[in-house]
């Protein structure tokens, strides 16, 4: 396998170095007139048209974001074929591709302007502490398929890159107020200013909601982000993004009617600096450095909580003393388990080469992850340093044939390594029809939580602490899991009606899947302890369809459909009994067979907009959640705009989600999604 990883890396380096012998040109040529507007960058790191990309890509643009009526970021991914979105709690979400998930989907990379927000503490992104408002987003590029050859381990099943708006392209100021169901109130302000070197934007949000009626799983958030863009010379572009997000949310495992939500306070911040330098017309150097930090804080249980836990309903002083000793022995114990601090620091240097028929992006990066949690890592603080080298290469063999090769090597200091590669051949059968055949082999290194999670509950014993319940134990020998993906795609652009159809059939097989496993232990509580092992095997086959059409200037639609046949021999949990026999808890389906997301937008007048969205998801069993029945949901949105003056516009938008009011559940049986209504007012100063 190592051969296949390094072959594309070497071949492309040699080819590029041979072709770079040509002198750089600073004179104008026909390229000035022929250059297209960049379409996507996330699949390979360099700019490509959708039809030249090695994998299927869906772009969610600003028009879709507005028309969808989405109130939170994850809701948008219902419009992407093969993606599933679920509310775990009112303010806790999961986004996954081809199912196989629990409440922390861990096989999808999520980035904001190339900055990974995948948190190794929870092995997933924390969607409610990103410090990002929907108004901050220009477009979202969603890579449907393994993209580790470009973005590393976390892009095991796919990748999302959220591209924020360029400050200069925005109105001078905007105020947005939203009020609606669940006691939602949100105020948002944004301001852009010109400096002598470039533009900056300040975006601030205050959000509160009261959560669901049954569990009152409320939230309050305050966040602020700053984006600045400088172009000191024609060859240099510097982008700076800073953000801070503070607040709290109530979370819980709502499997029972009397389940309680516990308050989790959080503090998150990030800093991201990116410098692009054009060495000449064809060569570019990009240096990117960022730091994310997230502190999740749940209050420690009181002595009375411990007493209750120990079964002392009306504790006397002796029982309280015992409960106090127990509390002292378990300073990290929390109800939710999502408690701790994590920090990521990343530095990457990328070299891009772009000529008319060759594009190439290669680079190296280093990432340091830190996890500090008395709850999750009782053996002490955990940190890991990972190094990576990557290369992505596109060559137009002929005007009809395009070859894409990509490879990435990751090495975690004193631990496992991972190798990934991808190849794709695109054939432009005609000016509007492209066929694509792609194959990839990808490996995902385990996250800190998966590898080093270690927690137990202790009780005071006559000779010292004794283990009451061993919850999880680490597995330092955990290896990378791997996936082999094969896809055949066709993209057809329409001439008479603007739009395109993208269809793909795929087969993917995951081996050595990192799976949560119960092994036998002789603790006092349940004689089992959770441990992650490379034991899962599963396979998905199916097809996906994406249709974008704009029949008239006033009407456009976007449809996403996915059919997935999910099979597994061993899935996420199993149990090794005392006698050594293994039982697997294979509860199918690990992915819904049919998913659909459709959005139609109609603007009968330039200041009036009406949109309709419909979503469907088939049966699925979410690990840690419940077996979910199929559901349909229809949302509508109506907006009207008024010109208040030459420089001011006001927009009012009414969104009704689940308009049919057929209450349904997305993750837990008792956590409802009922009809929700939101009114938004937006005032813009141009």
């Amino acid at each position: 396998m190592r051969f296949f990883v390094f072959l594309p890396l070497c071949v492309s380096c040699i080819l590029v170095s041979s072709l770079q012998a040509q002198p750089a040109r600073h004179l104008p040529d026909e390229q000035a007139f022929l250059a297209d507007i960049p379409q996507i960058t996330s699949a390979t790191r360099f700019t490509q048209t959708l039809t030249d990309a090695p994998v299927s890509v869906t772009v969610i643009d600003r028009a879709m974001i507005s028309a969808s009526g989405a109130q939170n970021l994850p809701d948008l991914f219902r419009l992407v074929p093969g993606f599933q979105v679920f509310h775990v709690n009112t303010n806790k979400y999961g986004v996954t591709y081809h199912g196989m998930s629990d409440d922390f989907p861990n096989r999808l990379e999520v980035m904001i302007d190339g900055r990974s927000v995948y948190m190794p503490l929870i092995s997933a992104p924390d969607w409610t502490s990103l410090g990002l408002h929907l108004e901050d987003i220009e477009r979202i590029e969603v890579i449907r398929g393994s993209n580790t050859a470009t973005h590393g381990s976390n892009a095991f099943m796919g990748a999302i890159n959220i591209i924020t708006r360029i400050p200069a392209a925005e109105p001078r100021a905007a105020l947005v107020y939203t009020q609606g169901s669940l006691g939602t109130q949100e105020g948002h302000a944004r301001l852009t200013q010109l400096t002598p070197h470039g533009h900056y934007r300040l975006s601030m949000t205050h959000h509160t909601n009261e959560g669901s009626q049954r569990y009152q799983d409320s939230a309050q958030r305050n966040y602020l982000n700053l984006a600045a863009s400088f172009t000191p010379t024609l060859s240099d572009q510097i982008d700076l993004n800073l953000g801070i997000d503070r607040g709290h949310k109530e979370i819980g495992s709502f499997k029972k009617a009397d389940s309680i939500a516990v308050r989790q306070d959080y503090e998150a911040d990030f800093q991201h600096l990116r410098w692009q330098h054009y060495l000449d017309t064809h060569n570019k150097l990009v240096i990117s450095a960022y730091r994310n930090s997230l502190n999740l804080k749940e209050a420690a249980p009181t002595v009375y909580d411990f007493a209750n836990f120990l079964g002392f309903t009306n504790p006397n002083s002796v029982q309280l003393a015992y409960a106090k000793s127990t509390a002292e022995l378990n300073p990290g114990l929390r109800f939710s388990g999502e408690n701790g601090y994590t920090r990521q620091q990343d530095l990457q240097v990328t070299y891009d080469y772009d000529q008319s028929n060759i594009q190439h992006s290669s680079g190296v990066g280093i990432r340091h992850d830190l996890g500090r949690s008395d709850t999750l890592f009782q053996n002490g603080h955990i940190s890991a340093t990972r190094y990576r080298a990557f290369n992505n290469f596109q060559m137009d063999l002929t005007p009809e044939w395009v070859l894409n090769l990509g490879a990435l090597y990751e090495k975690q200091a004193s631990a496992a390594d991972a190798k990934s590669f991808r190849s794709a051949l695109n054939y432009h059968a005609s000016i509007d029809t492209t066929l694509r055949l792609g194959y990839s082999y990808s490996e995902r290194l385990p996250s800190l939580a998966e590898q080093y999670g270690n927690a137990s509950i202790f009780l005071p014993g006559p000779t010292g602490p004794i283990i009451y319940d061993q919850i999880s134990i680490e597995n330092p020998d955990l290896k990378a899991e791997n996936i082999r993906s094969l896809e055949l795609g066709i993209t057809k652009e329409f001439n008479r009606i603007p739009g395109y159809l993208d269809l793909k059939v795929f087969s993917e097989k995951v081996n050595d899947s990192i799976s949560s496993f119960w092994i036998y232990t002789d603790d006092m509580e349940d004689q089992r302890v959770r441990n992650n092992q490379n034991i899962g095997n599963l396979q998905n086959t199916g097809s996906e369809l994406q249709l974008r059409l704009q029949p008239t200037d006033k009407l456009w639609l976007s449809l996403a459909y996915s059919y997935t046949r999910a099979r597994h021999e061993k899935w996420a949990t199993g149990k090794i009994n005392k006698d050594g026999n293994i039982n697997y808890f294979n509860r199918p389906p690990h992915a819904p067979r049919h998913t659909f997301g459709g959005l139609v937008n109609w603007s009968p007048l330039h200041n009036l907009n009406l949109s309709l969205a419909h979503y469907y998801m088939d049966h699925v069993f979410w690990q840690e959640g419940d077996r979910k029945r199929p559901y349909n949901r229809t949302d509508v949105r109506l907006s009207k705009q008024w010109d208040l003056s030459a420089d001011q516009t006001l927009e009012a938008a009414l969104t009704v989600q689940n308009i049919a009011n057929k209450t349904y559940q997305e993750f837990y049986d008792l956590h409802d999604f009922e009809r929700r209504t939101f009114l938004q007012l937006k005032l813009k100063y141009h």
Partner: protein
């Protein structure tokens, strides 16, 4: 030194091998005749191939499409040779001899101007020896369009780079003719585009984007689009993608229109016409309706604008 030589040789051989592979992949007519007009492509990108096909479809004369590195001595001696793209023009201008007639097309006028200013053959008067059909629009057409868009405007803004500077005199002449005062600045490679563009766009009432080097276009275009929109200044772009990206209007020639003019040039040469370097005779206008709405403008129909421009050019 030895290892450097070896690496250089290997690189050269590899480069040749890759080029040969492309040759095999190219669909070249096996029945090409020595009398066919060679259409020589700068490289094998789809856009050059498509342009060559369009020329073949529009001329009654037999043609043969080939890559620049396939242009053998025999090819270069044919009576008429068409160079598609700047690099093909540069190379063939260097290697063709009279009485061969070379037509350079699919290149901007500045590139051709550079060729004239820096001739590789001391004894050749390129202007008298080569026909050309440029990609860029005549300055008069662009300035006239600015006047039609904003009849009451007083200030016409432009930003020059090292390559587009050659337009300055002509722009000022036509600006005066159409009743504009020009506002312009010059941006070097080490210059800050935002600092340069912002004051310019704050005072301009209509702005003309000019094609320059790729680096200039890549960086300046982005800021020009943003700052012009923010200051509500109508921006005239020079390509379709410029309009798609946010310019109010674009004036440009499609490959079909360019190919038609090349086909007509071939006929004219057959009929004994002397070499002519021409700007596009046929052109297209395209409006970005979102930008039109944002700027709160109501433009005349594209037909009206086109007719008005043609009348201006015939005056």
């Amino acid at each position: 030194m030895l290892s450097k030589d070896v690496a250089k040789t290997l690189r050269s051989r590899l480069s040749q091998s890759v080029q040969r592979l492309w040759l095999v992949c190219l669909c070249i007519s096996p029945l090409a005749q020595a009398t066919d007009i060679p259409l020589v492509l700068t490289d094998n990108s789809g856009i050059y191939q498509q342009f060559a096909r369009l020329i073949s479809q529009r001329t009654a004369l037999p043609t043969e499409t080939l890559l620049l590195n396939q242009a053998t001595h025999e090819i270069r001696q044919r009576p008429i040779v068409v160079a598609i793209g700047t690099r093909a023009c540069e190379e063939l201008a260097r290697h063709t001899q009279s009485p061969t007639r070379l037509i350079c097309t699919f290149l901007p006028s500045q590139a051709f101007q550079h060729l004239i200013d820096h001739p590789q053959k001391a004894d050749t008067d390129i202007e008298r020896a080569i026909d050309a059909v440029f990609l860029d629009q005549p300055i008069q057409r662009q300035v006239a369009l600015a006047r039609l868009l904003v009849p009451q405007a007083k200030y016409l803004g432009t930003l020059y780079g090292e390559s587009s500077q050659i337009y300055q005199t002509e722009i000022e002449e036509y600006a005066q003719q159409y009743g504009f005062l020009t506002l312009s600045d010059f941006l070097r490679e080490e210059g800050n585009p935002v600092q340069t563009l912002t004051p310019l766009l704050e005072r301009s009432q209509v702005f003309l984007a000019l094609p320059d080097s790729t680096l200039f276009n890549r960086t300046v275009t982005k800021w020009l689009l943003y700052i012009s929109l923010r200051n509500r200044v109508p921006l005239i772009g020079f390509s379709e993608s410029y309009v798609d990206a946010g310019a109010l209007i674009g004036v440009y020639s499609t490959p079909e229109q360019q190919a038609q003019q090349v086909a007509e040039t071939l006929s004219a040469i057959r009929q004994g016409r002397s070499p002519v370097q021409a700007f596009p005779q046929y052109f297209t206008l395209k409006v970005n309706s979102n930008t039109e709405r944002t700027l709160r403008m109501r433009l005349p129909s594209l037909d009206q604008l086109s007719q008005a421009l043609l009348q201006e050019e015939m005056r």
